[in-house]
């Protein structure tokens, strides 16, 4: 076994005084050996990113390292001067971030940004820096590296930008690569490719990788060693094979149990005789984007000839990668945007051609749960007002609306006192419960959940899915569940619709579509699910 390259000992990072806990990270110790992949797993607020930022000297000024030591190749980082530490960053240890869309400077070409790393460490950089850039871009699998080096980041897709980040991080052959949720913002197939790339480069260069993730599927795919963090504490560490199979800490057990796994979908079979609530027929929506100042017009078929039905008490999952048109589909059904052609038959009536004034009376019957629980609730309104404003606006007496709001708050598992409080006093999961209660205030016939659990931690995700499931059993509401996560879809959906570039490529029962995919596209989606290999057994 190789010597540890990175040793973190009793690291304690203090939070500002007014926070609800004293330390972001407390007494955390671990070591990273050369040529190994260490995964740090934990939910938001567990301190995993703070630890990474502490190593890279990127802590915000409000966080200070109270005690502990970080040693890289035997050198104590915390006692080095700023200039000496800068000599290490980018050369011996480098980092890639979660969101590739914002991690590159929009005003510099990709090549210049990679060269900048080499210019910052001239002693370690090769003579021919342009040549090295081409070499790196080739190595991370980008097409046409010469052209790519001259591109500005906005021209690249998320996956391509993450490859550029990796190329930049590897420019000077560092000993340690820190990857802070590098695939979280990417589509499943892209995620699988990037994971594979990191894994391959790590093995070839015998590099140590510290990989931060909240996704146990990803852990199962690449980790040698695992650390589990909870609220700033390290609760468990050990070889991946141990921790994943025989977790000892109760928190790890809970986390693992909450991980969405690919279900066979056998648990749920929709009632084929239930009345149809929503029937979409040949729905089409085309966007016209003006190409440039020269006025070339591009046509994007966001939704292209899509048809399917949703029955009472049934959940239809709409899955696909970003840009597949699944969110546009949701907005079309909500009539937030107008369709170009096709029918949207809701409760037996085609609502597609209806003018807004006429459709308004039906709006209460179609409700939506949004993705971002932080952005979808008005921060200046109390929960009570958020819940009652809709019904009261439609003429429900306030007393009655209030009663219903109280009942629903109880139903989604919130205290009655929540009625008087404001959104910022609640966590993401609690806010999503408020969002669900808000959608249910009207007794809708159809609920559209657009990535409703994507922004939540796994354990919270599991709770919200369970809540939605219970509510559906009680109310027999029809649900369209839009998600990019096949594991989530496999848990909650009776039927699954797979979308690719606006087209519906496959539709059928969850068990059929995900268990026995009929198209190459669905097969590639299923194969790309993190942890698919091991989690199924």
């Amino acid at each position: 076994m190789e010597d540890p390259v990175l040793v973190v000992e009793n690291l304690t990072i203090a939070l500002p005084k007014e926070m609800d806990r004293a330390h972001a990270v407390e007494n955390v110790s671990f070591e990273l050996r050369g040529g190994r992949v260490l995964c740090i797993v934990g939910e938001s607020g567990s301190g995993k990113s703070v630890t990474a930022n502490a190593i890279m000297g990127l802590l915000p000024s409000t966080l200070t390292i109270a005690s502990g030591s970080i040693r890289l190749r035997g050198r104590e980082l915390l006692s080095l001067s700023g200039q000496d530490r800068r000599g290490i960053y980018g050369r011996i240890v480098s980092i890639i971030f979660q969101d590739p869309l914002s991690a590159l400077n929009p005003l510099m070409t990709v090549g210049d940004q990679i060269i900048e790393v080499m210019d910052a460490h001239p002693e370690a950089a090769p003579q021919d820096r342009r040549g090295r850039v081409i070499e790196l871009l080739t190595e991370v699998g980008l097409p046409d590296p010469k052209l790519m080096a001259e591109q500005y980041p906005f021209r690249l897709s998320g996956g391509q930008r993450q490859r550029v980040m990796i190329a930049m991080a590897l420019a000077l052959d560092p000993d340690v690569l820190i990857a802070d949720e590098p695939t979280t913002a990417l589509d499943v197939t892209t995620q699988a490719q990037i994971l594979e790339l990191i894994h391959r480069l790590q093995r070839r260069k015998r590099m140590a990788v510290m990989f931060i993730t909240h996704d146990f599927g990803v852990v199962a795919d690449i980790a040698d060693h695992v650390i589990v963090m909870e609220k700033g504490h390290l609760v468990e560490q050990g070889p991946a094979s141990e921790v994943l199979v025989r977790p000892r800490a109760p928190y790890t057990v809970r986390l693992l149990a909450a991980v969405p796994k690919m279900h066979d979908g056998t648990g749920r079979v929709g009632d084929p005789d239930a009345p149809v609530v929503l029937s979409i027929e040949n729905l089409t929506k085309t966007y016209h984007a003006s190409g440039s100042l020269f006025g070339k017009i591009r046509e994007v078929r966001a939704v292209d000839d899509v048809s399917f039905t949703v029955r009472k008490g049934e959940t239809v999952g709409v899955v696909g990668e970003s840009g597949s048109g699944k969110s546009t589909l949701g907005r079309l059904v909500m009539k937030l945007i107008d369709s170009d052609s096709g029918r949207i038959v809701f409760d037996g009536e085609d609502v597609a051609p209806m003018p807004e004034a006429q459709f308004r009376s039906r709006r209460p019957h179609i409700q939506m749960v949004f993705q971002d629980p932080f952005a979808s609730l008005n921060p200046r309104h109390t929960i009570g007002r958020i819940l009652t404003v809709g019904p009261v606006g439609r003429g429900t007496p306030i007393g009655e609306a209030r009663q219903r709001a109280m009942h629903l708050l109880d139903r989604v598992g919130l205290q009655p006192s929540a009625y008087e409080r404001y959104p910022h006093e609640f966590s993401g999961g609690q806010r999503q419960r408020v969002g669900i209660a808000r959608a249910l205030m009207f007794d809708p016939h159809l609920l559209i959940a657009d990535e409703a659990v994507s922004a939540l931690d796994v354990s919270i995700q599991a709770q919200i899915l369970e809540l939605l499931d219970e509510i559906q059993r009680e109310t027999r509401i029809a649900m369209v569940f839009i998600t990019h996560d096949l594991r989530v879809a496999s848990q909650i959906c009776d039927q699954v619709a797979v979308m690719q570039s606006g087209r519906l490529v496959e539709f059928g029962s969850t068990a059929d579509v995900l268990g026995n995919p009929g198209t190459p596209y669905t097969r590639s989606l299923v194969a790309a699910v993190p942890g698919a290999g091991r989690a199924s057994n």
Partner: protein, 316 residues
């Protein structure tokens, strides 16, 4: 690109037409008028007044006067001053240098100082410097320019005697140094409000950029704090500011009017006020159109520069 420029040109022409229409109408509605000063001459007869009016072309119907003036505008003949009969363009040209000198130097001060204060305030947020800059900007924005001008004349000219109280140069001593000496106070006074505005916007723009991931990326590369700030933070923060610079041009022109009057600066602002006193309509209209053109060009330039420095706009 050509399409864009042609489109903007068309918009600008329509805009200028509307401005001319409004300007002309407002002057029509104004009390007095060019004939009022002659009317007070003792012993002047109605016939004599009509003769003067006919000489100035004021006896024709309003629409004809307007059409005639507009056609002249297009041909480059902006009419002659009622006051001394010189061509309007020649008069404006004579005052142009003074105003451009004042506006230019005050812009350099405003942008330079404002940018520096804004960045420093953002980097050291909630520091003493930041609070002082915030309070300073509030004070600067609340003080009327003319009052600030008068107070600085009182202090620096009357009390201390360091700087001249007005004019652009000392007669008989037109060296560059003499110009600069005269320029200090008016340009500072004119810049004050814009320093305040610019520094506030720059602070916000910097704060928006400073927490972006690509700044973290730059720091993680091991770049020096100075390089991170100048190349990655300031570069990106300045882009929205270019548009702001274009939008601030009218403020600057308006400010120049007051400042030039306070400091007896021989520029377009003073010319405008003098012409108002004489009801010198051709000159007033000329100045109005000239400022409008200046503002349009400034905004177009701001858009072009933004497109030039931001690849997302240049190439998209």
């Amino acid at each position: 690109m050509l399409r864009f420029l042609l489109g903007r040109l068309g918009q600008s022409l329509i805009l200028l037409f509307i401005v001319s229409l409004i300007g002309f109408s407002v002057l029509l509605l104004a009390p007095g008028g060019p004939m009022s000063q002659f009317a007070l001459t003792p012993g002047i007869s109605k016939a004599e007044l009509d003769k003067i009016a006919a000489q100035m072309g004021l006896d024709r119907p309003i629409l004809v006067q307007y059409a005639d003036w507009l056609w002249g505008l297009v041909r480059g003949d902006w009419g002659n001053s009622f006051r001394d009969g010189r061509p309007v363009l020649e008069i404006i040209g004579g005052h142009l240098f003074a105003t451009l000198l004042l506006m230019g130097s005050s812009t350099v001060i405003a942008v330079g100082l404002g940018t520096w204060i804004g960045i420093k305030g953002a980097v050291k947020r909630y520091s003493m410097f930041d609070y002082a800059a915030t309070v300073g900007a509030m004070i600067a924005l609340s003080i009327p320019t003319f009052w600030f001008g008068l107070v600085s004349i009182y202090i620096f000219s009357l009390r201390l005697g360091w700087l001249p109280a007005g004019n652009m140069f000392t007669i008989g001593d037109q060296t560059v140094l003499d110009y600069l000496h005269h320029l200090i106070m008016p340009s500072m006074v004119l810049a004050l409000v814009n320093v305040a505005i610019w520094s506030r916007y720059m602070r916000t723009a910097t704060l928006e950029v400073i927490n972006q991931d690509f700044v973290k990326t730059a720091r993680a590369k091991g770049l020096s704090p100075r390089r991170v700030l100048m190349k990655h933070v300031v570069g990106n923060a300045l882009i929205p500011m270019i548009t702001l610079a274009g939008l601030q041009l009218p403020t600057l022109l308006g400010g120049a009017l007051v400042t030039e009057t306070v400091f007896t600066w021989p520029g377009m602002g003073r010319l405008f006020l003098d012409s108002l006193g004489y009801s010198d309509y051709p000159v007033i209209m000329g100045l109005l159109m000239f400022s409008a053109i200046l503002v349009i060009i400034g905004n177009l330039a701001a858009d072009l520069i933004t497109a030039f420095v931001d690849p997302r706009i240049r190439l998209a």
